[in-house]
Amino acid sequence: MKALPRAPAIAAGLLLLAAVLLFAFSVGGVHLSLGDLLGGQGEAGRTARLLAALRVPRVLLAALVGGCLALAGAALQALLKNPLADPFLLGTSGGAAAGAACAALAGASPLISPAAAFLGAAASSVGVATLARRGGRLDLERLLLAGLIANAFFSALLLAAFSIASGEASRTMLFWMMGSLADATPGKVAALAPYALAGAAVLVAASARLNLFAVGEESAAALGVDTERTKRVVFLAASLLTGAAVAFAGVIGFVGLLVPHGARAVAGNDQRTLLPLSALAGAALLVAADAVSRAALAPAELPIGAITAALGAPLFAWLLLRTP
């Protein structure tokens, strides 16, 4: 077994993200060259700066959303000791999307949407945790089943909202269902960043404890971990990250499931390395996927969720075949 040590792994993640960011800034309906942007004169320089003002928030939003989703997925996989654990599987994303959609349907201002998404994610988390609780303890297997129930419920809610909505409202519904980074603004980036950083800080701080869950919850408890508290903290932080991502970009699948698997294949399963690396790789993946979505059918755009699914499904199948 070989695994990249922590410092080189994280350095590689940073390099990857930097390269993808540079690539994504230049790609789109119109090519943007770094030379024009920094030193361009006259028309070329003005166009470049205009494009950058449009593209920079979008690329940064993609990075934050991708990082949030991948980090949440990695932490849940470690906590639940399940390679299929993911914010979508546990119903958190569905709850967030349904919350936002319901608010939009009720005619609430778009400014309310993020708050409604948080409420939905939190409601889903509390509901799933309540369903999974047995004898005062959070049972990990019941958690996955409860996630299935939540997902069924919230997708029904979302579909109902979509069929009732009309005109502009139904377009908004579609945004929550399909996921999109097209409406990125500097304000959204600034609003998402604190949630992303707070969730990431909590999870990375818990990473050494999460390592001990690899042998099972009991083993972790016997090694001095307050497992009930750790489960609550990790579950809530993952919900926070997922809710924030969905609030600003709708439901985008496969990132939380896929990225941790890829990162694990490169760097092993030490959560102290895997969590930061997953965040960086998730950011890189979504930035790249968004660049492809803008460039592939320019000037039209492919839905980003379609791209992550198209990339994710085959890769996930391959990972599945590869695992003994």
């Binding site: 390679p83 390592n211 001990l212 042998v215 016997a222 001095g224």
Partner: protein, 264 residues
């Protein structure tokens, strides 16, 4: 008996509505190797799980070195008590060395990388358990016997005073069982660790244990030096089967089996 290290007073524990320990009184002396015997469901594993603080007690108390265990910080008790569960289900790959390094977790390893001292202790523990060569191997791919010794090495790296071993020889063939027990006996001798060993093998208790705790329906029906506890009467009562002694071994009489008895 040596100075008492662990004492349980009217200790009870339950899984939902079913009571697994029902007012257990027992005491374990420092440096003893105690075999915990009893029929299935008698509360053997539950006792270890409560002592490991994996399962909370529902009544009574455990005193560890005279202090209530439940009032001790978790990390402190984890530095002093190591638990080797019956079976583990590994999902993700993990190097054997990393598994052994988990034993260092209660000693203050946080987000920081493993220290040279942690690595030294882990490697030494692996050497003592004859699993040094397996350090780089995925613990998922190890044989049952190898994996038991890797987990024993983890307990060793934990530098705990007490080892709680839940049926450590289950599923091992005679050679691996012997290797495991010899390793256990040797490291116990070197470190004077107190060992609580749950087992179904009465012969093993006779060979290894300094004292025996005999459980039935969540209570102790006999405890003390092995020669006092391991009698046909006590065993018949604990297991609900007719035991007879043959030298230092025990047999269960049978009207069905061709030999008329089974060696145990």
């Amino acid at each position: 008996m040596n100075e008492t290290l662990i004492e349980t007073r009217a200790l009870s524990a339950r899984y939902g509505a079913s009571r697994a320990l029902d007012g257990l009184d027992a005491s374990i002396g420092r440096g003893e190797v105690v075999a915990v015997l009893g029929e299935n469901g008698s509360g053997k594993s539950t006792l270890l799980r409560v002592l490991a603080r994996v399962l909370p007690a529902s009544g009574g108390e455990v005193l560890f070195g005279g202090r209530p265990l439940s009032e001790m910080p978790r990390r402190e008790s984890a530095r002093r008590i190591a638990y080797v569960p019956q079976s583990v289900d590994l999902v993700f790959p993990i190097r054997s060395l990393d598994l052994v390094l988990q034993g260092r977790a209660p000693h203050g390893r946080g987000f920081a990388a493993d220290t040279a001292e942690d690595l030294r202790i882990a490697r030494e523990a692996m050497r003592a358990c004859d699993v040094e060569d397996l350090a780089g191997r995925d613990a998922k791919a190890l044989s049952g016997g190898e994996r038991r010794r890797v987990f024993l090495a983890r307990a060793l790296a934990q530098e705990a005073e007490v080892w709680l071993l839940d049926d450590p020889t289950a599923g091992l063939d005679p050679r691996h069982r012997l290797e495991f027990l010899e390793t256990l006996w040797r490291v116990h001798g070197e470190r004077r660790t107190t060992v609580l060993l749950v087992t179904h093998e009465i012969a093993l208790a006779g060979a290894l244990a300094t004292s025996v705790l005999l459980l039935k329906a969540g209570r102790a029906i006999a405890r003390g030096p092995r020669a006092d506890v391991l009698t046909p009467d006590n065993l018949s009562r604990a297991f609900g089967a007719p035991f007879e002694s043959r030298g230092s071994a025990f047999r269960v009489r049978s009207a069905v089996l061709p030999g008329g008895a089974a060696d145990l």
